[in-house]
Symmetry: C2
DNA sequence: ACATATACTGTATATTACACACTATCATGG
DNA sequence: CCATGATAGTGTGTAATATACAGTATATGT
């Protein structure tokens, strides 16, 4: 009886509620390259916004969770899995996509660009790292999404250990500091930075050093697992 | 030419991308009642989850922004406008709604329950304030949404001035402290609380007092506009 | 005037944030 | 081999913030 009610209700649901929209995920994938914050963008091959740059993303598939979609799209675009990926919000302005109503769920991701072999997929002319400081106009409302992602990123890098996603497994404190500086866009005092980072107990000091150039070698650290 | 490309592309878009989903907004509307945190819930009149409690929400309309939808649904359910309303994320598990693929954008809202005249709308048996401490099973994934909203709320009440949304225009410091305690679920030292709140410079001290009971009257404050 | 109920207030201590400058260690080239 | 150059590494004093904690003030009701 109640079982039957459910069935009738569910069947009539499709008829009664017409508005159905496309749903996508878009990812703002950041990296540090040449000591500057870069974001992964796609040059669009097709209209709308043909030849504009856009955040990589795509349509949510039928039985796919949102997070999974974001991870899949990112894996498809960048060939990388198991990276930091976090939802930062939904963008659903009715006119954000000229093709129709498309609601997008935005994600933030960080990677070490050295671990990625950029390859444009079928919808893109190419995939590129562009410096966040000097960006061209972006397709859709991707500028808004990017700014939102950047706000979240700045917040997170100050309060969590996500920065390690931007670095190789073993790194020096100077390298870690440079990533913080690139993200926050400001210099940080070396001594205070080290005191703070070390007090957070995220790091393990290794018994190796990194030697580059004619000067004192730097100790290597790695992120403490779990 | 490029103009034409756009047209063709947009027209073919509908055919090529079939997956279209329902999109809703749901709001976790909190209030303080009897010195305890309560959330506004709807008792569902129809399947699925008939007679279960659920967060108020509804379908995004054709030309409606997400925020606007959340505000409208909330206004429809509660008769209140111009209140604090903030997106807290998208929930899109494929099986979260037995009727089909429904992606919901969740919002957080705060109101003073005295300003609201609760009235069930057509889809609900009734709308009620339920104490967050003792909640029944909720419909869909609304328990997850609620927990997420609660996390955001705790964070915001510590770091912003949103608590004022829970209070009447004029209030005493003790009343403000009680709202913090109810949200955070822990007692707060009176002197430290006052020091902190007053140092934040959000408040204007009024030249009135509030007299209740046989004891010293309390000074009234109000939130400093802009 | 006394009981009682809540408003109101200050100080000492610990923690955290911030400003700031010199020594250590390597490679290189004269 | 030593002087230079380049980056690694380190400590202290001060300010701001967070926390712990207890007694006085002012109203009403009897």
């Amino acid at each position: 009886m109640a079982q039957n009610d459910e069935k009738i209700e569910i069947e009539s649901f499709q008829r009664r509620y017409k508005p159905q929209y496309h749903v996508t995920t878009d990812a703002a994938v950041f990296t540090i390259k040449d000591e500057a914050l870069h974001v992964l963008l796609i040059k669009r091959k097709n209209p709308p916004f043909k030849e504009s740059y856009a955040l990589p993303g795509g349509f949510v598939e039928a039985d796919e969770d949102l997070d999974r979609c974001a991870a899949r799209e990112l894996a498809e675009e960048t060939n990388v899995k198991d990276i930091y990926l976090e939802q930062i919000g939904a963008f659903g302005n009715p006119s954000r996509d000229p093709r129709g109503r498309v609601i997008t769920i935005a994600y933030l991701a960080l990677i070490d660009w050295n671990k990625v072999n950029l390859a444009a997929d079928t919808d893109a002319m190419r995939a590129e790292w562009l410096a966040v400081k000097r960006l061209p106009k972006l397709a859709f409302d991707h500028k808004d999404i990017l700014e939102s992602a950047l706000d979240t990123l700045k917040d997170k890098i100050k309060n969590t250990s996500i920065a390690f996603q931007l670095l190789p497994k073993e790194f020096t404190l100077t390298e870690l500091q440079k990533t913080h500086e690139a993200v926050l866009g400001m210099p940080i005092d070396k001594r205070n930075f080290r005191k703070k980072i070390l007090s957070e107990n995220f790091l393990v000091e290794l018994k190796k050093t990194k030697m580059v150039g004619a000067h004192r070698p730097a100790k290597l650290y790695q992120f403490k697992e779990k």
